[in-house]
């Protein structure tokens, strides 16, 4: 299927980008730095390491999404490499899907690599952390990145790399607050509350993918949580990519 061919190519493109190597090095460096700080942590070293480790997966992944993901399509439009692709028998939605699959695969690989490094570090320091819990935490972090990547690909198809980056970051930030938005909506007068509530629904519900607290406490989460998070991620991604496909369908490549 042509989407997979494009996905493979996009994965190759992302991984060959020097950025990825840099991000991996940065991740390793961050983990190392946490170890310097742990003596200050007054006994909370394990917590610190786990939390910073998981946070760094999310933040470094976000970094990759913003720098690479937002220009994935925009760069092709700009440099006209897209003519060589879309003049072949590929449906435009398949193209977007392939782009998303490729970058998500790269992000998941990044999450796994950093997650593995974190696990090794914890083992080396002799800190016991529930493997299931850590694995779940990394998985959910990966899902979060997949959702943000879909947003980035959509904006990339519609806008310039710089604007796409801004919109994606903005949506990420508001997405982290979606729970608060929903809570605030209950306290507003009905009309405003409905608007705020709708906004809370539209932005990606990113706290759903955050189980850093649980992992720091060494506790795994429920199967229900994982199922809901996975379902939400897939449907949200499908929605965003479909919107991108609709806009892309109308586009003229001058």
């Amino acid at each position: 299927m042509s989407a997979f061919v494009i996905a493979h190519n996009t994965f190759r493109e992302t991984v060959r980008d020097r950025l990825m190597a840099g991000v991996l090095v940065a991740g390793a460096a961050l983990l190392a730095v946490t170890q310097i700080a742990t003596p200050l942590a007054l006994g909370e070293g394990r917590r610190l390491t786990v939390d910073l480790g998981l946070s760094s997966i999310s933040l470094l992944g976000l970094f990759v999404v913003v720098l690479v993901g937002t220009s994935l399509v925009a760069k092709e439009l700009d440099r006209r490499t897209i003519y060589n692709l879309l003049s072949r028998p590929i449906a435009r939605p398949a193209y977007l899907l392939g782009k998303w699959l490729g970058i998500t695969a790269a992000l998941l690989a990044l999450a796994l690599a950093l997650g593995g490094a974190l696990a090794l570090l914890l083992a080396w320091r002799g800190w016991m952390v529930s493997a299931a819990s850590l694995a779940q935490g990394v998985y959910l972090a990966g899902l979060e990145l997949a959702v943000v990547a879909a947003v980035a690909v959509m904006f990339s198809a519609l806008s310039t790399p710089v604007l796409s980056a801004l919109y994606t970051l903005g949506l990420y930030a508001v997405g982290q607050w979606s729970d608060d938005l929903r809570a605030f909506a209950a306290h507003f007068p009905p009309a405003l509350g409905r608007i705020v509530g709708a906004l809370a629904d539209v932005v990606p519900n990113l706290p759903l993918f955050n189980m850093r607290t649980l992992v720091a406490d060494g506790r795994p989460t429920t199967a229900l949580h994982l199922a809901l998070a996975t379902g939400y991620a897939l449907t949200y991604v499908a929605c965003v990519l479909a919107l991108g496909a609709a806009a892309f369908e109308r586009k003229d490549f001058k």
């Binding site: 610190l48 939605p93 607290t213 939400y232 609709a246 109308r250």
Partner: protein, 251 residues
């Protein structure tokens, strides 16, 4: 090609994409709502809560300590509200307010709010005291904060600490821009602690300087009561029976 088959292609694909977006979007929203209903509510402060100390956080905020403090404040208020409405279990509150006030040492409202929340709902007077002390140390010329500290002692659940209350009320009264009631609260506290001499002096001060006629009259009355108590050598005549403060959590 007929108009119909053209619709199946270019415009058809456009419509199909929109339909897919709406359907999957609706499903995503439904899942999010299900999650909000069925999963345990994420505790917003939990992320902050297990950072070992505010001192460690500050470098991490990369210069945005005040914004971080603002966010922390919002979260703290939320935390309080959530737990106040649910389990009245404020395990992490002291820690959270400690972080908040380390990030923003001059955020006096945080000390006051945190102090009272800890003392009352949190039932941890020692923590409240520590927090307020930290506040007063960081803001030695803030009369309002000193007054609040005094008030904290004044309404200490299980037994007012009138000496300490009076100490801080007096301190507040001496600082620049004191709250108007500091002087008379000081006098009142001293009087009810049995320190009539000090109380007398404080009331005299109120009578001399208060712009409010009612308060001057009140001061006069109290001074009168003290004189009578001295005269009768019965100190309890000047003391009022003050109820023991307790905390009643009404849902």
């Amino acid at each position: 090609m007929s108009a119909r088959s053209r619709a199946l292609t270019r415009d058809g694909r456009f419509a199909a994409a929109w339909a897919t977006a709406l359907a999957t979007g609706a499903l995503a929203v439904a899942l999010a709502h299900t999650a909000a209903r069925t999963l345990p509510a994420p505790r917003p402060l939990e992320e902050l809560a297990y950072y070992p100390s505010g001192r460690f956080i500050e470098p991490a905020t990369l210069g945005h300590a005040q914004s971080a403090a603002d966010l922390a404040w919002l979260r703290a208020v939320q935390y309080y509200g959530e737990h106040r409405d649910t389990d009245n279990h404020f395990a992490r509150m002291a820690h959270v307010f400690d972080i908040l006030t380390t990030l923003a040492p001059h955020f006096t409202a945080a000390y006051a709010f945190g102090g009272f929340a800890l003392a009352q709902e949190g039932r941890d007077f020692a923590a409240a005291e520590r927090l307020m002390q930290k506040g007063v140390d960081a803001n030695p010329t803030d009369a309002d904060l000193a007054f609040e500290f005094g008030f904290l002692y004044y309404v200490k659940p299980g037994g007012r600490d009138l000496e300490r209350a009076a100490e801080y009320f007096e301190r507040a009264a001496r600082l620049p821009n004191p709250p108007p009631m500091a002087a008379r609260f000081a006098a009142f506290a001293r009087q009810n602690a049995g320190e009539l001499a000090v109380a007398y002096a404080l009331w005299a001060d109120v009578r001399a300087h208060s712009p409010n006629r009612y308060l001057r009259d009140m001061a006069e009355r109290e001074m009168d009561a003290i004189r009578r108590a001295w005269a009768a050598r019965r100190l309890e005549l000047a003391r009022r029976h003050l109820a023991t403060p307790g905390v009643q959590l009404v849902r």
